[in-house]
């Protein structure tokens, strides 16, 4: 990549030579760039999802670690999760996870190049298939949660 790097240095040289050329700033974006249109804002929200999911994952690791410390420690932790700030966090994390999943699956059609019966599978079909797979997997998880532990409870 030495050619690209050499060239970018050349661009920067232009930027500091306003007598010949003008570049508004050094390479970069104004902090409000994402407010230019709805798609940029959605992109930033999609990226922001990673922060919530990272915190949620750390919280899960803490929860798993507490399993080693006995029932009381675990129950105390779970009880805290029912407080309003944590509930708001969980709702936010779930919303962001949903947003990330939807935007990821919408984009899924752009990734693979698939062929079926000698013909290229369209982007729309791949996306529809991804959503169908997601719906089936979600339904399976929901059924497992609702009915999976019934035998043990009774």
């Amino acid at each position: 990549m030495s050619q690209i790097q050499a060239n970018s240095a050349w661009v920067r040289n232009i930027a500091v030579s306003p007598n010949r050329y003008h570049r508004a700033d050094e390479p970069g974006l104004v902090p409000t760039w994402w407010r230019a249109n709805r798609r940029f804002a959605l992109y930033m929200l999609r990226e922001l999802a990673s922060v919530f999911l990272a915190v949620w994952s750390l919280r899960l690791l803490r929860q798993l670690n507490l399993l080693r410390q006995g029932e009381e420690a675990y129950d105390t932790f779970v009880a805290k999760q029912r407080r309003l700030p944590w509930l708001l966090f969980h709702i936010s994390a779930f919303s962001f996870a949903l947003l990330h999943s939807v935007t990821f699956l919408i984009a899924a059609g752009k990734g693979p190049t698939l062929h079926f019966m000698g013909r290229k599978v369209s982007e729309r079909t791949i996306t529809a298939g991804a959503f169908a797979g997601w719906a089936i997997a979600s339904l399976a998880v929901l059924l497992a949660l609702l009915f999976g532990g019934r035998g043990e409870d009774t």
Partner: protein
């Protein structure tokens, strides 16, 4: 057609000999609903202010020369009608993310250099003699790359890309799309050569999939798709190479 009506067009002005910073100048010109922004700029150039500089050529969305930022959106001015903005004001600025040469004219050298890096031409290990005839393709083979061959090098995708704005080292949407166009061409044998440029941290892996490049593309090339497909292909190839070497093509 409306007659006697006028519209205000504001354009970026910058003269490297006289100005430290670009500035905006407004022109009030006659409005016709069949005029495009490029027509308005040419009207200004011909009848109002001959010093206004901008780049254009074909006036029909083929040459890719007249790309500018119109009311904040990178667009071909020959395909952008005044009626879509009337009676509001139109603000025409140069394409973002490129050095400004004069008024609405940007320096495209960086793009031209990167375009050359992906070798956007058919590479053959061995050219067959003319006597053996032409390189033939089936319609299916043509369909593989045809979408990406529609690129007119207008650079709207670079102006729309926040990654390119942040990291000028980024190879950029159009160059990657054109690299993929030739990699998918059944007549081409230069894919490995191009992947040395495409499959790098300054190439496809710099893209965070904002997707705006495909939104502004006037020819529906969908560079974001080309980048994601190349990511998938190179990832599969990496796994084949390291985990399943016997499956590698």
């Amino acid at each position: 057609m409306a007659s006697g009506e006028s519209i205000t067009l504001t354009a970026t002005r910058y003269s490297p000999e006289a100005d430290v910073e670009p500035w905006l100048q407004s022109y009030v010109i006659p409005y016709r609903e069949d005029m495009v922004v490029l027509d308005a700029l040419n009207y200004i150039k011909s009848y109002v202010d001959g010093t206004l500089s901008f780049r254009w050529s074909c006036r029909m969305g083929i040459c890719g020369s007249c790309g500018m930022t119109v009311n904040g959106t990178p667009t071909l001015t020959c395909a952008s009608f005044l009626r879509d903005f009337f009676p509001g004001e139109i603000v025409v600025e140069p394409l973002a993310n490129f050095p400004l040469v004069r008024d609405l004219v940007i320096d495209m050298s960086d793009f031209m250099h990167k375009l050359g890096m992906v070798k956007p031409w058919i590479i053959r290990d061995r050219d067959k003699p003319v006597t053996e005839g032409e390189y033939r393709q089936t319609p299916a083979q043509l369909e593989e790359y045809q979408q990406y061959s529609q690129c007119i090098n207008c650079m709207l995708c670079y102006a729309a890309c926040p990654v390119y704005a942040m990291e000028p080292e980024f190879l950029g949407p159009a160059a990657i799309a054109l690299g993929r166009r030739y990699n998918l061409d059944s007549r081409d044998e230069g894919a490995l050569d191009r992947l040395k440029v495409l499959a790098t941290s300054d190439g496809i892996w710099d893209c965070t999939f904002v997707g705006e490049c495909s939104v502004v593309c006037p020819k529906n090339v969908d560079p974001a798709k080309a980048i994601q497909q190349t990511k998938v292909d190179t990832t599969i190839d990496w796994y084949k190479q390291h985990l399943l070497p016997w499956m590698r093509r």
